[in-house]
């Protein structure tokens, strides 16, 4: 078993356990909320205050579960010969969510003509190229920017287009490698306003 496969399996197993931990915490928080709700000695204002705290806890359990599930899927599919592009992209966005929110940069995935797109290469190298572009967008774009991620396929080539809005935002693509890995190309368009990660597809 190769290093990448072992890492993937360990990640998937750890994230599966993490999902169970979060599910237990969520249910116990829910039970505590139920019991407090049934307790007549607690004043209504205090119950409302507890209710607010429980809502925050439930939201955070949801965020944690999304992240753990995304990494579990990524880990379990690391050794696969092909990558499902849209789920992979969503996994990367889940990992980057906190940083992107801090920088006030958001992403919109548009599968459009690339619905069901599968790359003819394993997930890891494609993830590396996509993540580099996503991270560069978060670091290099102004607060309030929205990046549309358009999936497309043509003549055996798949691509993810990174289009920053408002239009004309240039310079954020500086530093992205044009050929980050064999079979994967990172093309810079419109004088640096758009980036395309291209790869062979099925």
């Amino acid at each position: 078993m190769g290093g990448e496969t072992v890492t993937g399996r360990l990640t998937a197993m750890a994230m599966h356990d993490m999902l169970n931990v979060l599910a237990v915490l969520k249910e116990n928080a829910g039970l505590l909320e139920d019991l407090i709700g049934l307790e007549p000695a607690i004043p209504a204002a205090q119950k409302a205050r507890f209710g607010g705290l429980f809502r925050i806890m439930q939201e955070q359990f949801g965020v944690g579960s999304d992240l753990a599930e995304a990494l579990k899927r990524f880990g379990s599919e690391a050794a696969q010969p092909h990558a499902d592009v849209a789920p992979l992209l969503r996994t990367l966005l889940a990992v980057l969510r906190r940083k992107a929110r801090g920088r006030k940069v958001s992403f919109v995935v548009d599968e459009g003509g690339g619905r069901g797109l599968r790359a003819a290469l394993p997930p890891a190298p494609l993830a590396a190229a996509l993540f580099a572009a996503l991270e560069r967008a978060v670091d290099g774009l102004a607060a309030g920017s929205v990046v549309r991620l358009l999936l497309a396929a043509r003549d055996g080539r798949g691509m993810v287009r990174f289009i920053a809005e408002p239009g004309g935002a240039s310079g954020w693509t500086d530093g992205l490698q044009t050929g980050p890995a064999e079979d994967i190309a990172c093309e810079i368009k419109d004088g640096g306003a758009e980036c395309r990660v291209c790869f062979p597809c099925l």
Binding site: H16, E27, L35
Partner: protein, 127 residues
Amino acid sequence: MTLPMYEWKVLLVDDEEEFITTLAERLSLRGLSARVALDGEEALRLVEENPPHVMILDVLMPGMKGLDVLKAVKAKRPQVQVILLTGHGSTRDGMEGMRHGAFDYMMKPLSIDALLAKLGEAMEKAG
């Protein structure tokens, strides 16, 4: 005609004891008394002893997998409605289970209100 909730026979199956016993307690606070099984073999034994109307079944368990439990239950007791629990965002196992006769699937972590609503729908089908 749908039975009142206190007459619903529900079996919860999950190897994560802390999770499933807490869920059972939350359901009991809402007037629904559910039995609990911690693995597939125990679940099949409980189904034979006293078939539930609805079974909530985790897909990923050590030992006998949830989909194998589902197939065994449906082969012997097709009237039992099975709701599968899958990982959040994991639709593949849920869809596979529905092809084998599951009533529906839900993703963990659960919302208790959504679970009760789904149980109600399954009870209507259980008749």
